[in-house]
Assembly symmetry: C2
C-alpha cells in the first residue's frame, strides 16, 4: 500500500464539511490518479483541534475558515514550514496576496486557489496554465452568483431590486446580510485575484473601483430589453497604456457578448488575448459542494508537483480613468431645445452620441441615449453639467455598455 | 543564460507556420515562466528536413503534419526515444490513441493535445486536470466550427443548407471539400478523444455514431425558432448502464441549455458531473493562430514536468441504443383519424408524446411532435411503421431534442 497523503483541514462550515465528505468519497479515484491515497489528518474548528498539531501531521493544508485573522497567520506558517496550501479565501488573497505568494515561493510549495473565484468555473487554472504563454489583454467576469440571480429575476419578472433580493434570500442565493454581494465588494476581491494572474500585476482589493446593483430599477432593465441588451454586474480587468484597470459595475451587454446569456446564479469569465481572441468559461456559482469540488481538484494537482505559482508581480500603474460606452437616462421637461442643450454639453466634453430615444410622458419626457466610448472623467463632467440644467427633473441615471469586440 | 529547450516541428502548413511565428514572439515570456528559452531545432516538411536528424536535436516534438501515415510512426518513435510530444492530430488520437498513450507512458514523457479538440477552448486540460477528481457523467460539445457557422447562418437568414455552405466556403469557414465537417466525422473524432478523457474508456472513431447536417432544411430551423429551440450539431458522450455512449447528431436545444447560445464559428463543451453540476467552456473554433496558441500552451506545460497522461483505459462497453427526446415532422393528408393512428403506433412502442402542433396546408397537413425521452430503437421502429401509412406523404423527418438538466 502507498503512503497516505495527509490533508489538514482548517474550517468545517458548509464548504469544509462538503470537502471532508468529498475527499472520502473520491479517495479511491484520487489514489488511482496520483498513486497516493489522500486522508484527513485533522480538522481545526473554533472548538476543536490545535493548529500546530494538525500542521505537524499534514502534507497539505486546506484552508476553508475564511477571513483574515487568524487565517493569514496559519497560511503563512504552513507555507513557511513547507506545506502545500489550498485555499478558497478571496479576502485573504485580494488583500495579502503578494505576501502569501512570496511565502509559497520561498517554501518551494504549491499554493492553489481555484475555489476562491467563480465557483466551479476553472478560471484560475486556465489563466495560469492554458494561457501561460498568451498575452492577456482583458478579462470580463460575472463572478457573483447572488447579484446575477437578482438581475436575472428582475429581467424575467419585472420585480424591483428589493423584491428580487427577498426572493434570492428565500431561495438561499443571497445571505441574510447581502452587503458584500450586492455592493460589488465580493466581485471586486475576485477581480483583483483574476487581474493578478492575467497581468502579473499586484492588485489590492483597495485598488478595485466597484459599484453594486442596489440602485438598479425595473425601468433600467426595461430599456435594456427594448434595446436588446442584458444588464449584468460585470467585473472588468484590462491593460491600458502600460497600466492595469480593474473595476466592477452594472453594465448593459449586447446580445452577442458571451456573458449576455449567463443567467441565474451562474458565474462566467471571458478572457481576451490577441492569439486566442477569447475564451469563455461558465458554470454554477459557488455552492458548498461546487467549491469543495474545486478545492479537491486543487488538492489533486498539488499532489502532483511542481508548484504552479504566479510569477512575481511586476510593478504596473493602476489606471482608474477608463473609456466606456455609457447609457444615459434623463427625465426632462418636454419642451423645445432640451435635446439640443444636452447634446451641446456632451459635445463640449467630446462625448459623441450613438443613439437616442425620446419618449413623451405628458408634460415630461424621457431621454435615453447611448454614447460612443469616451473617457469616464469626461462623461461624468458632462453629466454633472447636465444635472444642473433647469429642465432636468431627476438625477441622471448612468450605466455602462459593453460590446462584443470580435 | 539557461539551456535552450529544443522544439522540433513536423509540418509547416497554416498551423505549423503560425506556431513557428508565435514561438518566436513569445519566447521571452515562456523563458520568464519556465526558466528555459524555447527554440526551434528543426522543421520537417514534405520537401525539407529529415525526421531522425530533427528528433536527435529536440527535447520535444510538435506534430502538425496531420494524417496517420507517416505521422503515427514519427510520433511513436519520438515517444519511445523519450521526447515529449504535442500534437493537434485528432485523426491519429481517435484511431490510435491507446497505442500512443502507452508509448508516452513507457517513455515517461508528456503527450499533450489541447489543439486537437475545440480550437482555443481548453477542454482537454480542464477535463484532465481540474476535473481529475470529479466523476464525469456526460459531455456535450459543439466541436465543429464549420457546421455551427452554417447552422447559425441558416437560422439568421433562412438560407438553405447549400446557400449557407457556399457562403461559409467564401468566408473561409468551410473547405472546398467540406465532407469531413458536414458529415459529422470531424466532430466524431473529437468526441472520441473527449470521451476517452472523460470516462477512461478506449473509444475508437469507428465506435462513434455520427450524422451530419446535409439534410437539414430551412423548415426544420423555422420550427425550431417557433418552439424556442436552436438547432446545433451536437456531440454527446455519456455513461449509460456501466457503458459509454458517444454520438454526433443535429439536435434541437432548449434556450436555457448552455450550448444554445453558441453561435457562428464558435466551439463549446459542457461537462456534467454530480459534484460540479456543469461547466461550459467556449471560444472560437480552430483558426491557424488559435490552434497554434493551444499548441504553445501545451509546449509550456510540457516544459514543466510531470507528465499528465490519461490513466490506462478501463474496459467499458460501448452503448449504441440511447434514450433521447425526439422531434418528428410528418407531411400527411389532411383527413380525420390521422393523428389518432400516428399516436396509436407511437403508443405501441411506448413512445409518449410531449407536444403536438398540426398545421393545415390545403389538402395536406403538417404534424410536428416532440416526444418524451425514449430509447432510440423503439422510436425508430415506430417511425418505420408510421412511414408506411398511406396518408404519409414524405419520409418522416426526425431530429433529437436536448434539454438543460439543471
Amino acid at each position: 500500500m502507498s503512503e497516505p497523503f495527509r490533508v489538514g483541514l482548517l474550517g468545517h462550515g458548509t464548504v469544509g464539511a462538503a470537502f471532508a465528505t468529498l475527499l472520502e468519497e473520491r479517495a479511491d479515484a484520487v489514489e488511482a490518479e496520483t498513486g497516493q491515497r489522500p486522508e484527513l489528518s485533522g480538522i481545526l474548528t473554533r472548538s476543536r483541534g490545535e493548529f500546530e498539531d494538525i500542521l505537524e501531521r499534514s502534507d497539505l493544508i486546506v484552508e476553508l475558515m475564511g477571513g483574515i485573522d487568524p487565517t493569514r497567520d496559519f497560511v503563512l506558517r504552513a507555507l513557511e514550514r513547507g506545506r502545500h496550501v489550498v485555499t478558497a479565501n478571496k479576502q485573504l488573497l485580494s488583500q495579502h496576496g503578494e505576501e502569501i505568494f512570496d511565502a509559497a515561493r520561498r517554501g518551494g510549495v504549491q499554493l492553489r486557489f481555484e475555489g476562491a473565484v467563480a465557483g466551479v468555473v476553472p478560471a484560475i487554472r486556465v489563466m495560469a496554465e492554458s494561457l501561460a504563454a498568451a498575452h492577456i489583454e482583458r478579462v470580463h467576469g460575472i463572478v457573483n452568483g447572488t447579484t446575477n440571480y437578482i438581475l436575472t429575476q428582475m429581467t424575467a419578472t419585472g420585480a424591483t431590486y428589493e423584491e428580487a433580493l427577498a426572493e434570492a434570500q428565500e431561495m438561499g442565493y443571497a445571505e441574510a446580510d447581502p452587503t458584500e454581494d450586492v455592493t460589488g465588494k465580493d466581485a471586486a476581491a475576485k477581480m483583483a485575484i483574476l487581474a493578478r494572474l492575467a497581468f502579473n500585476a499586484a492588485v489590492h482589493l483597495d485598488q478595485v473601483g466597484y459599484e453594486g446593483i442596489e440602485r438598479i430599477t425595473p425601468d433600467d432593465i426595461g430599456y435594456a430589453k427594448d434595446l436588446g441588451l442584458s444588464l449584468k454586474l460585470v467585473g472588468s480587468a484590462q491593460r491600458i497604456d502600460g497600466g492595469v484597470a480593474v473595476h466592477v459595475y452594472p453594465a448593459f451587454l449586447y446580445a452577442d457578448h458571451p456573458l449576455a446569456s449567463v443567467n441565474g446564479a451562474f458565474n462566467a469569465v471571458t478572457v481576451e488575448s490577441p492569439a486566442i481572441t477569447e475564451i469563455t468559461l461558465s458554470g454554477p456559482g459557488a455552492g458548498g459542494m461546487q467549491t469543495a469540488s474545486a478545492v479537491l481538484g486543487d488538492v489533486v494537482s498539488a499532489m502532483i508537483p511542481p508548484p504552479s505559482l504566479p510569477a512575481p508581480a511586476v510593478e504596473q500603474p493602476i489606471v482608474t480613468d477608463v473609456e466606456f460606452s455609457f447609457y444615459l437616462h434623463l427625465e426632462v421637461a418636454d419642451r423645445p431645445g432640451v435635446l439640443a442643450q444636452v447634446a451641446e454639453i456632451l459635445g463640449m466634453q467630446c462625448v459623441s452620441i450613438r443613439s437616442v430615444v425620446q419618449k413623451g410622458l405628458g408634460r415630461e419626457a424621457r431621454l435615453v441615449m447611448v454614447m460612443h466610448p469616451v473617457l469616464e472623467s469626461k462623461f461624468r463632467a458632462a453629466v454633472e453639467l447636465i444635472a444642473r440644467l433647469d429642465f432636468v427633473r431627476e438625477a441622471p441615471r448612468v450605466i455602462r455598455v459593453i460590446e462584443e469586440t470580435f
